[in-house]
Symmetry: C2
Subunit: 412 residues, 2 copies
């Protein structure tokens, strides 16, 4: 019998307990021995829970209990999760977490502590919810040079964009609907502004390319300034707007890593990922394109990924260290303005024709786009693939026109 503790009995933490109790028999069979929940840390009381006698409000009860071999961290955020996880690892306990903020910010340090103490720090649930992605990616990496990862990594924003595209709902209405359906939190900033996606692409990029990528190194844009007109222009181009997290290896060994709404071709596998679903594209030299698709969030999908990690750890207690990467480096991620994209530009003003001429002089041939029911006083165009800093300069040089929006176009 292996004893575990759960820290944080919110949506995911209580889901972990639920899955453990419900699938007890098959989990026993898979793990090779029974797994018991010996303590649960939460500031709240749960007198009606079948596990009511396991609750404690004191972290010391867990960290000082030598009987606990594995600690599940489902508190979320950095404080106190980071300190608690660190101390658990130093106390000789393996840790399983669903906390993407923790892994994205402190993954390299916590992995190193785990390695030094012959433990595991596991976080399959931190990316893609119930979709198995980190272990399969590790497996892909074994025999492939993976050169790009791109994904729709946040279900809330994908639900909002899908409603805008399919039902011509406004951003505000789509977000309200997402909140009503429980797909968006009351404070949806972390989702809408791209921070959640940023944390997830940091974790994927760190694993895929072997060196930690910190969230503050990644240029991050959200979807709050995407309008129905943008959606129409994208459709006219036979594309869909998706919030994409993307990381590619450059020939100089550095990474391009960015989070932004992008127009991707309808024929792309990621364009077909709709509603609250996630999709992750992995590109390798030998396998070509592989896509993983499923629910990226939700109580039971995420909990099932946590439980799969627990079972894996029970099977390999004191043995296998499987995930690992090196600490980050200051200039490891390239300036996003060095990356090259074709871009949709929407301009308004008195002299649009001379603006177009100026842009073409600076960037090369642009293509104007006409979409039904879009404002008649504006010019929409696609630039050729150019360096973003060049595009910035070209836009700055325009007189008498204002930029309504600009959206990158990615061939994914």
């Amino acid at each position: 019998m292996v004893q575990i503790a759960i820290m944080g009995y919110g949506v995911v933490g209580s889901g972990v307990a639920e899955v453990m109790l419900k699938n007890k028999k098959s989990i026993y069979h898979k793990a090779g021995q029974p797994i018991g929940i010996s303590k649960i840390l939460d500031v709240r009381n749960f007198p009606d829970s079948p596990l009511a006698d396991k609750f404690t409000k004191n972290f010391d009860d867990i960290v000082n209990d030598p009987g606990i071999r594995i600690v599940v961290e489902t508190i979320g955020g950095l404080t106190p999760a980071y300190e608690y996880v660190r101390r658990c690892l130093l106390a000789g306990k393996s840790v399983v977490t669903s906390n993407k903020e923790l892994v994205a910010s402190k993954g390299d340090e916590l992995l190193a502590i785990a390695r030094e103490n012959n433990l595991n720090f596991l976080f399959e649930a931190s990316v893609g919810g119930g979709i198995p992605i980190l272990r399969p990616l590790d497996q892909c990496l074994a025999a492939n040079e993976v050169y790009e990862i791109a994904g729709i990594l946040n279900g809330t924003t994908n639900f909002v964009l899908t409603k805008m595209i399919s039902d011509s709902m406004s951003f505000e209405d789509a977000l309200k609907l997402a909140q009503q359906l429980g797909y968006a939190e009351r404070d949806p900033q972390a989702d809408i502004e791209g921070h959640d996606t940023c944390r997830k692409i940091c974790i994927l990029a760190s694993l895929a390319f072997g060196r930690h990528v910190y969230p503050e190194q990644v240029h991050t844009e959200g979807i709050s300034n995407i309008t129905l007109d943008d959606v129409k222009y994208a459709s006219a181009f036979d594309g869909a707007i998706k919030l994409i997290g993307r990381a590619c290896k450059n020939s100089d060994g550095r990474l391009d890593c960015i989070v932004a709404p992008m127009i991707i071709p309808q024929a792309s596998k990621l364009a077909e990922v709709n509603d609250e679903y996630n999709g992750i594209l992995v590109r390798g030299d030998a396998i070509g394109d592989v896509v993983f698709y499923g629910r990226g969030a939700g109580k039971l999908p995420t909990a099932s990924a946590v439980v799969a990690d627990i079972i894996d750890e029970v099977k390999h207690l004191g043995a296998r260290k499987y995930l690992s990467w090196d600490p980050g480096l200051k200039d490891y991620v390239s300036d996003y303005r060095e990356a090259e994209y074709a871009t949709l530009l929407r301009l308004r003003g008195s002299d649009l024709e001379s603006a177009l001429n100026k842009l073409e002089k600076a960037l090369g041939k642009c293509t104007t786009v006409n979409a039904k029911d879009t404002p008649s006083d504006e010019l929409a165009l696609y630039t050729p693939v150019v360096c973003e800093s060049l595009l910035d300069k070209a836009i700055e040089s325009l007189n008498g026109v204002s930029l309504i929006n600009r959206i990158r176009i990615a061939s994914l």
Copy 2:
């Protein structure tokens, strides 16, 4: 340094050597130690290969070499692969194979020998080519009750069907094109008649549900009788015809397992799997639907899956036994005529109206389908969801009409 041998230097075997040499450095890093190819078994000579000095025509050179810890079997078929693999395992060597026929027919026996000898028998490459599916499925299974697996598991037939659907090509022309492009073999029977898909669904079902499913237990239909008219009727129903391998757990503990062309809704994730690609849908109680997508065949994708298994085995020599299932049982797979499907029926004859009346009396309300440019002298209809044996009886009772085709409709 771990020494391996490769048996069979065809497309996959030579691909394994190619990936091992090309990604030598990263493979060393991943495996924790260098891996050397010490012998290659093939009846042919390869004097120009960089590995020319490793070739042997004598299996004894491999099985009797105590320095060889892992043997890769890429011969294909049962003879002599089965005997060779058996003897390698008995001689204390772990085996990695891409041979789906071998795993589908003898997997339970070879897994048992591996287990008894504290070895691994690994076969990630046997299903889905380079798509990681067996380990992720094992991971999904850890915390989920998986209740259904369905997939497009054969790239050749999917390419042919895609060309029929998208370009209105005839079956014969599409098959010819597939052969020209190297997607279909000169003798395409195993693909076209569904046997390849059958082997793969046997492996997936064995792993997912814990008991061996033998190919002869699975009712298997190919796509050679699918015509452009069938495709048109499917489109009229907003569906696509795909060759599906499917396994579901019944409430009585037995399995429904079948390979057949099926009409699936355009909205299904599997309907979006086109050309030579594969897609595998896994349905579990906690994760919901997860889909894995990528190239299901080809030299390098398949070789990369073999190499990933080799690396995994090098990391766990003498340790982890990870895949396993029980031997099969005679009545474990239900009679396919017990399964319930809605079905597209195409009838021709003198008294179609009374045929429709008779069918509706026996089965319940049917829906007639009209599709553009289909034969005017026939009746096409969708039955309600009924047991196949009931449908058989109803069709037999019809007088003066002939059945042109019948195709199951599946909600995947």
